[in-house]
C-alpha cells in the first residue's frame, strides 16, 4: 500500500505544477494589465509606471510566474481587483454553500440511481427497465439551465411551494429548514444529470456481476434470490459504483456556475461569474487553481480508496 501511495503522490506533484502553468498562461492571455484595472484612468502616467515597476510587470513572464508561485507556496492567493479583499477570504466565504449544494446533489443522486439501477438490472428487458433507461436518457440530455428555469416556473412561480432562489429568506427566515427548502430545487437540477448517467452505470455494473460464476454457486447452494442480489452481487458491484460517483465532483464544481447563477445561490460559481464580469483576474486565477486542486485531491482519494478495497489495481499501470 505505502509504495503505491508514494508513487501516486509523486505523480501528483508535476501535475499540480502543470496546472499552475496552464492557469498562469490563461491569465496572461487576458488583454490589458492589472494596474490599469486597479487605478482610475486619471492617474498620472509616472505613477502608473512606478506601480508597474513595483508589481514586477516589466520582468519576463517566467519571472512573474515564479514570483506568483512563491506567493502561492506561502498561501497567498492574491487580492481581488474589485473588492481589494484577500481572495482566500472571498473563496472561504463562498465554498461552503457550493460544497453543500454539490454533496446534496451527489447524495440525492446516489439515493435514486442505486435502487433504480439495481432494479433495472435484475428486471432486465422488462417494461420497467426500458422506461428507466429511457428516462435516464432524458435526464442526461436535458440542459441543466433549462431544467432549472422550468422548475422555478412550476414550483416557485406557479405553485408557490418553493423559493425561486437564494439560500435563505431575506426577512429573517429560519435556520436549517429554510436553507433546505432553498436547496431543494438547485440540488434537484444537479442530481437529475447525475441520476441519468448513473442509473445506466449501476445497471451495467450489476449486469456484469450477475454473470459471474460465484452467483451461480450462491444460487446452487440454495441462497434466496434476495440474498444473492443484495448480499453477493451488490457487494461486488458497489465499489466501482462508488468511485464513479466520486468522479462527478469536477462536473459538479463546473456545473455549479450555471446553477448558482439561475438560483442566486451564493457559492463559488456566482463568485466566478461576478469576477468574470468585473475582470477580476486574481480571483479567477485563484478559483481555477483551488477548484483544480480539489479535483486532483478527490481523484487521488478515490484511487486510494479503490486500491485499499481492491488490491489488484495497485499492480496495473
Amino acid at each position: 500500500m505505502f509504495p503505491y501511495l508514494l508513487r501516486r503522490l509523486l505523480i501528483a506533484i508535476p501535475v499540480l505544477l502543470g496546472i499552475t502553468v496552464i492557469n498562469f498562461v490563461i491569465m496572461k492571455l487576458a488583454p490589458g494589465n492589472p494596474v490599469e484595472m486597479l487605478i482610475d484612468p486619471n492617474t498620472p502616467p509616472e505613477l502608473i509606471e512606478a506601480k508597474k515597476q513595483m508589481l514586477g510587470l516589466h520582468s519576463p513572464a517566467y519571472v512573474q510566474y515564479f514570483k506568483w508561485l512563491q506567493g502561492l507556496a506561502h498561501g497567498q492567493l492574491g487580492y481581488s481587483f474589485s473588492s481589494y479583499a484577500p481572495v482566500s477570504h472571498l473563496i472561504g466565504e463562498r465554498i461552503g454553500p457550493t460544497l453543500l449544494l454539490a454533496f446534496a446533489a451527489l447524495f440525492a443522486g446516489l439515493l435514486v440511481a442505486l435502487p433504480v439501477g439495481i432494479f433495472s438490472a435484475t428486471r432486465r428487458n422488462t417494461r420497467f427497465d426500458y422506461l428507466m433507461t429511457g428516462l435516464s436518457f432524458v435526464g442526461t440530455s436535458i440542459p441543466p439551465f433549462f431544467l432549472g428555469l422550468g422548475l422555478i416556473y412550476v414550483f416557485a412561480l406557479k405553485l408557490g411551494w418553493l423559493p425561486p432562489g437564494g439560500m435563505r429568506d431575506l426577512n429573517g427566515g429560519g435556520g436549517l429548514g429554510d436553507t433546505l427548502l432553498h436547496l431543494l430545487l438547485p440540488a434537484t437540477v444537479l442530481a437529475v444529470a447525475i441520476v441519468g448517467k448513473k442509473i445506466r452505470y449501476v445497471r451495467a455494473s450489476m449486469l456484469d456481476v450477475l454473470k459471474q460464476d460465484y452467483l451461480r454457486t450462491a444460487r446452487a447452494k440454495g441462497a434466496r434470490e434476495f440474498a444473492v442480489i443484495y448480499r453477493h452481487a451488490l457487494r461486488n458491484a458497489l465499489l466501482p459504483i462508488l468511485t464513479v460517483f466520486g468522479s462527478e465532483i469536477p462536473l459538479l464544481l463546473g456545473g455549479s456556475i450555471l446553477i448558482e447563477q439561475i438560483f442566486q445561490w451564493p457559492g463559488i460559481g456566482q463568485l466566478a461569474m461576478q469576477s468574470i464580469l468585473s475582470r477580476d483576474y486574481p480571483t479567477l486565477m485563484a478559483l481555477n487553481l483551488v477548484a483544480a486542486a480539489v479535483v486532483l485531491a478527490t481523484n487521488l482519494l478515490v484511487d486510494l480508496l479503490y486500491s485499499a478495497a481492491d488490491p489488484r489495481v495497485r499492480y496495473d499501470a
Partner: protein, 306 residues
Amino acid sequence: MNASTGAGGGAAVRPKAITGVAADSSAPESGARTIWRRFARHRLAVAGLIVTALLILTAILAPYLTPHSPYAVTASFSAAPSADHWLGTDPVGRDVLSRLIAASRVSLLVGFSTVALYMTFGTLVGLISGYAGGWLDSAVMRITDMFMAFPFLMVILVVVSALGAGLSTLIWVLALFSWPAVARLVRSSVLSIKRLDYVRAGVALGLGTPRILFGHILPNALGPIIVNATFGVASAIVSEAGLSFLGMGVQPPTASWGNMLTDAQSLTVLTEQPWLWVPAGSMLLVTVLAINFVGDGLRDALDPKQ
C-alpha cells in the same frame, strides 16, 4: 459535461474489424450492413437519426425557411404569438421563430466543428501515446491529467472571457479542454490492440509505423471513437448553450438557443412571456436527446458483445 456522457462506456476493444472492408460477393453480409441492421433494431436510435437529419437540413436551409429576417426589428416588443409571428417577438422586436431557425446553424456548427477538432487531435495523441509507450506515454497522460483537473465549464468560461467571447474562440476553447478524454480512450484501445497477433505480424513484416497505426490499429479502435464523437456533439451543443446563456458564448445579435434563454433570467419573462424561453429550451432538449439516442444506437451496433 465532457465527453463522458456515455456512462460506463469503457474502451471495449473488438477483435473483428468494424469497418466493412469490401467483403467478397459470397460473404452473407458486409460489415456496414451488419452495423445498420443492429442500429435499426433500436427504434429510438432511428427516430433520433431522423430528427438529427431534419435538424441538419433545417440548419443548411435556414435562410430559406425563416419567415422573417432573424435580425429585423419590428415595432412590437415581446409580443405574444400571433398569425404573423408564430412564436411572438423578443424584447428587441425580432421574430422568435426566425431566430430559433437561424440558431440551429450556430448550435450544429459548434457541435460538429468542435468535435471534429478535438477528435482528430485526441485520436492522434492517443494513437501515438499508446503505441509508443514508455516515457512519452507517461508524459502525455500527465498532461491529460492537468487539463482534466479543471472543472470543465468554469475553466472554459474563464478562458473565453479572457480571450473575448465569440463563435470561433468558443469552438477552439471547448476543443482545448475536450481532447484529453479522447486521447485516453484511444490510448487504452491501442494498448490492447497492439498486443494482438495481426499487429505483431505487421511489425514482423517490416511495415512502417504510420501504416500500422492508421491501417491496422485505428480501424479497430474506431468503434468507441465514433460513439464518443456522437455524444461529444451533444455535449458541445449544451456547453455552447450554457456559455451563451451566461453571455459568454455566441454574442447577440447572432441568435443562439443559449442566448435566447438569457432573457428568462428575469422573473417577468419567466412567468408571463413563455414564448421567449420555452421554444429555445425545447429545441435544445430535442436536439441533444436525438443525438444521444443516435449515440446509444451506435454503441449497441458497434459493440459485438451485445
